[in-house]
Assembly symmetry: C2
Homo-oligomer: 114 residues x 2
DNA sequence: TTAGTATATAACTATCTACTTATATAATCA
DNA sequence: TGATTATATAAGTAGATAGTTATATACTAA
């Protein structure tokens, strides 16, 4: 089976986006489930605009997609994106991050929406 | 066969390094051969200090190794590095960059050392 | 409609990054 | 030895980046 190939400048743009621990953790988290913005704010203990801006960058090149459910917006990895086959092996080598959601539940700070 | 796993903060550091088109192209080029600094300077049409600084960053986290041969220093990917299994699938999905060396030969600007 | 909640965007700022120029180090060769 | 070549390092700078605060937008529910 021939390897897929990604133009090298585009690849570097994608890798730069993944080269941030917040964005990389987000991508791993939502590779198998949708999460809403407020969860990320809790998990990363940072401001809501900061998370929004990270998500915006991921969305701009199509790595993630959003889905509004009432007043919440859920984000998940867009597996139909042209770069998904490129980043999949990267995500697969990262340790599962779902424990971060579990910690929120245990602390009781997991927001109502999720 | 269980997947290897790379701590997520370390992974983001490695990906940030690869998230630069010059460094990413260098990594792809030297995944299967050693190249000396002057070749990179020709290929990327940039200054020698700029290349040296990119190579320094790659060397600092162990992605590449150097080998002096007389007055020249050859760089190649350190396949024994702990992160190599992590980055290998990335490099494998990039188009071969050897044509850049061929272009140097055809232009006659490939330096004597190489 | 008004108040409250969730999210996005704008503007600003501190820090980081990649480059430049200048200089230092190291090897070769006459 | 001194001149030349290859590479590294230092210092400075312009532009990029990630965060902040303030505000706008969008939805829900009373």
């Amino acid at each position: 089976m021939p390897q897929t190939s990604v133009e090298i400048v585009k690849a570097s743009v994608v890798l730069k986006l993944l080269g941030d621990k917040t964005r990389l953790t987000i991508m791993k988290l939502i590779d198998n489930q949708a999460c809403c913005v407020c969860e990320f704010v809790e998990i990363f203990q940072t401001s809501q605009p900061s998370i929004s801006q990270h998500l915006r960058k991921l969305k701009d090149i199509g790595l993630v997609k959003e889905e509004r459910r009432g007043q919440w917006i859920f984000y998940s990895v867009d597996k139909g994106n042209e770069y998904y086959p490129f980043i999949k092996p990267i995500l697969d080598q990262l340790p599962n991050q779902e424990y971060k959601l579990k910690e929120l539940e245990e602390k009781g700070t997991r927001i109502s929406c999720c």
